[in-house]
Amino acid sequence: MTTAPADVEKTITEFLNRVDKMPPSLTADLALYADGIGLDSLETAELSAILEDEHGTDPFNDGEMPETVGDILAFYAASA
């Protein structure tokens, strides 16, 4: 899969449905952790692995942890 925003969003959406944490709408400013989607540490590791599998790279292993959905999209946009 490419690193185009639509493809990355599709990966995130499929993952959130899998862990039953899909919000009513997926917006860029939505926080990934406690005050937003509520991913725990294991779910974060799963998302990290799935993003790497699907898109070849992974923002969580790049030194700075993404805080929002927008941070993930920005990582792929910057590396495109």
Partner: protein, 250 residues
């Protein structure tokens, strides 16, 4: 060339599978029809035979790697995923032993044993568990040793690293259990392999006399337990270290 494996074939990584116990485990998974990848620092006649045999060549991947280096560990796991798309089973077997009274043990020997036995295992487990998490399935077996439980004179560093693997087994089982990944350890007793070469003939004979089974272990004894722990029927036995020593420590 990359290929998607048959759904009945497991993709198996056995670290340190070029000789001794590791080679016995590789052979067992090749015999059960699986796709097997292994690595070690140097190639051996066993590895060359598997690469040349038409029966195994397409199901066997070899790569030279020093797993105490994180870049080698990551590159090896990546090569397996690129070839076969997934990893179903990881057998953390790579290890090294140095013997000597601890108060005289060199810095180099401590580093060599700790770097491969602990850090190498952590590097490979991290890379592989990411792939297993993404698929929500997998089996990991850490090969430790009864000396990690009982200790052995002259093997302080090695014993410490094997006890560390038992801790890793329990922690990873707790961490990954909810995602369908089982993690166990096997603590072999004394085997008839190169790793027993630090023991002299008198010591080995003494061990045989004290062993209820009346013999040293063979790699096949350990491989059978690996197959059981990583078989499709096992989804409930996790976080355990199984002692396979002919009854020596019973």
């Amino acid at each position: 060339m990359s290929a998607v494996p048959d759904s009945t074939q497991r993709v198996v990584i056995v670290t340190g599978g070029s000789r001794g116990l590791g080679a016995g485990i590789v052979r067992s998974y090749l015999d059960s029809g699986d796709l097997v990848a292994t690595c070690a620092r140097s190639i051996t006649p066993e590895v060359e035979a598997w690469m040349a045999d038409p029966e195994t060549a397409d199901r066997f991947l070899w790569a030279p790697a020093d797993l105490s280096k994180v870049e080698d560990a990551d590159a090896f796991v990546k090569a397996v995923v690129e070839k076969w798309k997934r990893i179903d089973v990881l057998i953390n077997n790579a290890g090294v032993a140095r013997d000597g009274i601890h108060s005289l043990f060199s810095d180099d020997d401590i580093d060599t044993v700790v770097d491969l036995n602990i850090k190498g295992t952590l590097y490979v487990s991290r890379a592989v568990s990411r792939r297993m998490l993404a698929r929500r399935s997998g089996s990991i077996v850490n090969i430790s040793s009864i000396v990690g439980l009982s200790g052995y004179r002259g093997l302080a560093t090695y014993s410490a690293t094997k006890a560390a693997l038992d801790g890793l087994t329990r922690a990873l089982a707790r961490e990954l259990g909810s995602r369908g990944i089982v993690v166990n350890g096997i603590a072999p007793g004394y085997l008839r392999t190169e790793m027993s070469h630090g023991l002299d003939e008198d010591q080995l004979n003494q061990i045989v006399r004290r062993t209820p089974a009346g013999r040293l272990g063979d790699p096949e004894d350990i491989a059978r337990v690996c197959q059981f722990l990583t078989g499709p029927g096992n989804s409930y036995l996790t976080g355990q270290v199984i002692v396979v020593d002919g009854g020596l420590t019973s």
